[in-house]
Symmetry: C2
Subunit: 456 residues, 2 copies
Amino acid sequence: MRSDLVSTLPLVLNPASTTPIPAQLTAQIRNLLAKGILSPGDPVPSTRALANRLGVSRGSVVTAYDQLAAEGYLSSTHGSGTIINPNLHQLKPLEAEKTHRKTPTPAPPLLNLDPGIPDTATLADSAWRAAWRTACANPPQNIPDAGLADLRSEIAEHLRRMRGLVCDPDRIIVTAGAREGLTLLLRTFAQATIGVEAPGYPSLRRIPETLGHHLRDLPTDSNGLMVSDLPTDLDALLLTPSHQYPYGGSLPAARRTALVNWAENSDTLLIEDDFDSELRYVGMPLPPLTALAPDRTVLLGTFSSVITPQIACGYLLLPTPLAHQLAQLRGILGQPVGAITQAALATYLASGALRRRTQRLRRVYRRRRSIVNERLSALPGAQLRPIDGGLHAVLITATPAEVVVEKLAMRGLQVTALSQYWGGAGAENGIVFGFGSHDDDTLDWVLAEIADAISA
Amino acid sequence: MRSDLVSTLPLVLNPASTTPIPAQLTAQIRNLLAKGILSPGDPVPSTRALANRLGVSRGSVVTAYDQLAAEGYLSSTHGSGTIINPNLHQLKPLEAEKTHRKTPTPAPPLLNLDPGIPDTATLADSAWRAAWRTACANPPQNIPDAGLADLRSEIAEHLRRMRGLVCDPDRIIVTAGAREGLTLLLRTFAQATIGVEAPGYPSLRRIPETLGHHLRDLPTDSNGLMVSDLPTDLDALLLTPSHQYPYGGSLPAARRTALVNWAENSDTLLIEDDFDSELRYVGMPLPPLTALAPDRTVLLGTFSSVITPQIACGYLLLPTPLAHQLAQLRGILGQPVGAITQAALATYLASGALRRRTQRLRRVYRRRRSIVNERLSALPGAQLRPIDGGLHAVLITATPAEVVVEKLAMRGLQVTALSQYWGGAGAENGIVFGFGSHDDDTLDWVLAEIADAISA
C-alpha cells in the first residue's frame, strides 16, 4: 500500500457533526471517487494507518470500509491490502477521464521543411551520451546567474574557433535560445523603437512587438540591410549581417563600417543575430559585427542549428556593462536553463565532438546544397537564389507562392511562402524551404515534388 | 590539421594593394596571433588548402609561411603539419589570456542551509539515469508551445496523487520553475498591483517589482494571510496557502472560503504558490485553493523541492482561458525548457520513481525534523516555530539575528535572518535555515553550532 495516499487523501472529519464518523468516512470516500481523486485499482490506507492519521478509533474505519465493500466500492486483495474495486470504470466521471487521457500532439506534417532544422540523425554519439550521463548524475550546484562558468568558457572558445572572435567569458550570458535571449535583452528597454530587416526572420521580429515595443521595417536587398538612409531615432537595430535571413547574403565590409559609424552617431544598440553563421559554403567569412564594435553590439547566439533545437540553449555576448546588468536581472528572474543541461553542453563542447561534428555536417550540407542547385537552378519559371550558407533555400517562382505551398502541403510537404518574411507589402513571390535535416534520398524526392508543383 | 581553421580563419587579401600577397599574409597571421584568435599550438591550414581557399598561388603561401617560421611564429611537426609555435606564450595578449581562463565560481559557503534545498544524494537511481539516457538520444520533435503533451499528462497525474486535485492537462503550461512561471503570468498584466504576504518568499516577491508592477504588503500571522481586511483594488494576490513561507502554517478552511469570496467580489486573480506542499508532516492536508476556485486561481508548481532545483522545471495550472493565452505567448516567445529535459522528466514521472522517492524522503525529512525539534525546542533564549511541513525551520532568538547569522558564517554555515522575509518593518528577531539537504550527522553538528551561536 502506498503510504502517500495515507497522508494526502483529503479526508476531513467533523467531530461536532451529528453524522456518525463511519458515515462521514463512507460519504467522503464515495465523493473522492466521484471526483476522480481516487480511481479504480487505487490502494486505500490500511484501517490502522487511517485511524491513526484521523485520530479516530480503528473500529470506525473498519465499519466504513465494510460498508463500502458491501456497496462494491472496495475490494480486498491478498498481499496488497484493500483497493478501490478495479471494475468500477463506469463510475469514473468525465473530468477524471480527461486526466488520464494523453493529450494528443497535433499531427506534424509528413515532412517538415522549416528552415534551420539541422540533421540530428548522428547526434547521439558516445561524447553526447557521456555528457548527459555525467550531468544528470552529478549536476553542478550553486551556479552563477549568468550561467555555468565552464559553459561560458566553452562558448568563448567556440566563438574563437568558429567565428574568429576573442571575448571574455564574463561578457556571456547563457540563454534558453535566441528568442529567450532577445526577450531578456529587451527588458532593459522601457518602450523602445526597434529596427528590423524587411524581409527578416519572423520568429524574432514578432518578439519586440509582443513585448510592446515599436517595430520599424528597414529595406534589405540580397546583400543584407541597406545602410545609406537609416533613421536616427532607433533604440536598437536587429539584423543578420553574416547571413541575411531569408536571402542568405553577407553584409559587405563597406556597409558594416557605415553601419557602425551610424550606430555610434545615433547611439543605437546593434543586435546581431548570428544564426547558423557556423555553416558557410562559399566566400570568406567576415568577422561578426561585434568584433568591429564590441561596446555597441549584442551577439545573439544559439546552438539550435549546430547541435539541435531540442537542447533549448544559446547565449548572449554583450558589452561588459550590459552583461552585468543582465546577470543581475537573471539573479532575480532566474536562469531558465537547468544546471543539468548547462553541464551536459559544457562537457560536450569541451570534448571537441562539436567541432568534429560541424566539420562532418559542413560536408553533408555542402553536398545537399549541390543537389538543390543541380535540381532547381535550371527550372523554367523559377529562379533559385544563391545559397552561400545555412540550411535553407529561397526559390523565386512564377506560379503564385500560395498555390505552390498548398500543392506541396497536399503531398505532405511543409514549405513557407517568402511573403511570410515581410512585415508589410513588397514581398517577392517565392518559397523558402530547409534542406539540412533530411537524408539525400528524401531530399531528392522533395526536390522532384517541388519542381513538379512549380511547373504544374 | 583541423579544416575548420581553413574555412574560418578571417584572412582577407586585397589584390589591388601594392603590398605583395606573401607580406599581406604574414601581417594578417601575426595580427591574428596578437589578438589571440590564433593561439600557440593551433594548427594552421596546409599551404595547398589555404592557397585554394584564397585563390592565390601556392608559392605565395609557402613564402609567407617560411617568413613566419623564420620569425619563430610557426613550427613544423611530423605528422600533424604546421602549427603555431607552442612556445609563444609570452606573445599571448591579456585579452586572449582571459578567454582561456576558467572564470572562477564564487566560493560557496562551507555549508549552504538555504531553505528549500532537497536531499539529492540518492536521486540518480536507475529510473533517473534511464530517463535522461532515452531523452538525450531520442528527444521528441515538434512539441507544443505549452509543453510536451506526455509531460503535462504526468503533471496532472502528479497533482491528482500528491494534492488530490483533478485537472485537465490542457490547463497546464510547462515552465522553467516557479520564478519563470510567475514572470510569464505577469506578462498578461500591463501595470498591475500585486498583493504579497509580509513576511513572504523573497525570491518571488522581487519579481513583480522588477517587472514594473506595484507591490502591496499584506499582513500575515502564523496561520497565513489575514483575510479580514483585504484591499479591493488588487489585480492579483500571491500567497502560500498550503505552507506559509517562512512560518509554515496552513491557511485555515474558513479563511480560504473568505478569501475566495473576496476574490470573486473584487475580481482578483489568486496566485497560489504551492512550494513544497508535497512534504507535509502533521495534520490533514487541505486541498489547494485552486480546487475551491479553479476559474480564479493560478497554481504555481515546481519540481525544485521534490526532485532537484538543477532540473529547472515547473508548471502553471491555469483557468482554461488563461492557459490558452499563455500557450499563445509561449508560441511567440519560445518554450525555455528543452525537449530533452521535458522528455526526461515525463519518463521519470511515468516510471513511478518519484512517488517512491517522495515516500522515502518524507520519512527522512520527518526524522530530521524530529532531530531539529529535539535539539532546539528547549533552548533557553530561543523559540522554535512548529514545523508542519517543508524543509526549513524558523527559530526566534533573543540574541539579535544579525549577530547569530554572522557568528554562524564565521563557522562556515549560511543561515538567513528572518527579517529578510519582510518587505518593510515589523519583522520578528530570528533565523531561518534548511534541514533537508544534509545527512543526519551533518545536521547534528549544524544544530550544535546553532545552539552555541545563540547562547554565546
